[in-house]
Amino acid sequence: MSATKRVQQWSTFSRMWYLYDAQWQDPFHSAKVLSPYLTGQNKPIYHPLNDCGDHVVVINSQEIALRGDEWKKRVYFHHTGYPRGASWTLAWELHQKDPKMIMRKAVFKAITSNLVRRTCIERLHIYPGSEIPEEIKSNLSGQIRPVMPVPKRLQEYSKEEIENYPKVFDFPNDYILR
């Protein structure tokens, strides 16, 4: 193989490292977006046996947002295998115990159930906050757009932006609000 072809082969089959910010994102919708990257279905060289999946680093998994009353109603079932080993854990309880679990389980389910699923989930790195270890950070090569746009909180607007914001009406200075 000539040098050019060798290098072309290497770069074609290299793995990308994507960053995904799960701040205020729905983990189940996010999982649907992340699973093609983990399996490699975003690539033209994809084949189920090709093992061409990329790495995805999820940050702020502590800050995920479940819809409606799912925090109270969604339940995670686990059985130890032993008699009387069944347990039902509510989403908020599970999130308290391990803030990475909900995200991980969501992505695991989103990946099609087959023998490569365990390998793919190994390439998902979840962090509860925004701190990433240096070894992982140096690998990153791309970013995946969040599923839902993150709204800007009022506290995040600067004073100049608030003053210059176009207004239709404002109270006079001496007006007292009740």
Binding site: S2, A3, V7, S11, S14, H55, I136, S138, N139
Partner: protein, 355 residues
């Protein structure tokens, strides 16, 4: 058997009538039957095959016979067919001389003298023709390469020429035009050198018979086409691409090459990949990829040189046949005019592409 007889009957029926075979698609009732051969037939055939394989292995391969040992061998007809097959006109004497080897003449004279017959055969061997043919071959190949690869340094031209005139390449060509059956040589199966000698002699014979122009086209159509699909950069690339690139840019009066990391992935992992871009005075020239920064840098330099020499992967396909109609004179002109060597290469000096 019954199925065969049935289809034959139908063919006869259709043959005698004026109806075409293809009009109706009636379902022909083809019944596949088991072949009831005697119980000893299959084992016998298997044993015979096994013994044949062992015997062949002992003899170093299955026995092959020259075509002339089979029936209906007419050497004169074969010679006639050969020239017609190629679409060329050969002088009979030149062609026969080109196909006759010294070893054959020696063997025949020795054989005749053993019998006691004085040989007054006027055989001419292909030594001189093959020598001349080799020179013509080199000349025509160089002419074509220099006319098509105008931007390329002389070292690469030489490498491509060496590839095209190498024994394996010429043997392939010689085999495929049927010289194996036509050559008169003492060795059988014929050696590579014999094939190559015959082919070169054929080129010289053609030049003698139909002129150099025809011989040039013959070489282009049969030998140079072996370059088609071959990555020319595999044949030659400079040892120090970064050094050579810097020298070229300096000669052209451009700024020094600057290497910048464009993108990277997985630098901490074993599957890390780096993309390095090459810039000269903030102008992008090329980019290269690699598993380490050093490899990526070298590949970027190599890509830049490929871009200068117009030998990228996306380069134009080689022209043949009708596409060369207008530039044959230019090819003849460049046969004795080497390209610029790498040490003096500069883009102002090279000609614009001929085709």
């Amino acid at each position: 058997m019954a199925a065969l007889w049935k289809t034959c009957q139908q063919c006869l029926r259709y043959g005698f009538s004026n109806v075409s075979i293809y009009t109706s698609i009636t379902a022909v009732n083809v019944i596949s039957k088991r072949n009831f051969k005697a119980h000893w037939v299959a084992p016998t055939l298997r044993e015979l095959k096994r013994r044949k394989v062992i015997e062949d292995d002992r003899n170093g391969g299955p026995k092959i016979f020259h075509r002339s040992t089979f029936l209906e061998w007419n050497y004169d007809a074969e010679i006639f067919a050969f020239s017609n097959r190629l679409g060329e006109k050969f002088n009979d004497l030149s062609l026969r001389a080109a196909l006759t080897h010294k070893s054959y003449i020696e063997r025949e004279t020795a054989r005749l003298s053993d019998i006691g017959v004085e040989s007054n055969l006027q055989f001419q061997d292909n030594e001189a023709l093959s020598q001349k043919g080799g020179e013509l071959l080199s000349k025509f190949i160089n002419g074509y390469l220099r006319a098509v690869f105008t931007q390329v340094p002389e070292e690469l031209i030489r490498a491509m020429h060496d590839f095209l005139t190498s024994n394996p390449t010429l043997e392939t060509v010689a085999r495929h035009i049927g010289l194996g059956d036509l050559m008169l040589c003492a060795d059988f199966p014929c050696k590579t050198e014999t094939y190559v000698k015959s082919f070169k002699a054929i080129v010289a014979a053609l030049a003698e018979s139909s002129g150099e122009e025809r011989a040039r086209i013959f070489v282009q159509d049969l030998v140079v086409t072996q370059l088609y699909g071959q990555d020319v950069n595999e044949l030659w690339n400079p040892v120090d691409p970064v050094g050579n690139l810097t020298a070229i840019l300096k000669r052209e009066g451009k700024a020094e090459p600057e290497f910048r990391l464009i993108r990277q992935a997985g630098s901490n992992s074993i599957l890390g990949v780096y993309y390095v871009g090459l810039y000269s005075d903030k102008n992008f020239i090329s980019e290269g990829a690699g598993e380490s920064l050093e490899v990526a840098k070298e590949m970027a330099a190599r890509e830049a040189l490929k871009k200068f020499f117009r030998t990228e992967d996306s380069m134009r396909a080689l022209p043949f046949g009708r596409q060369l109609k207008n530039i044959q004179s230019k090819i003849a002109q460049l046969e004795n005019q080497p390209n610029i060597p790498l040490s003096e290469w500069i883009s102002e000096k090279v000609m614009s592409a001929v085709h």
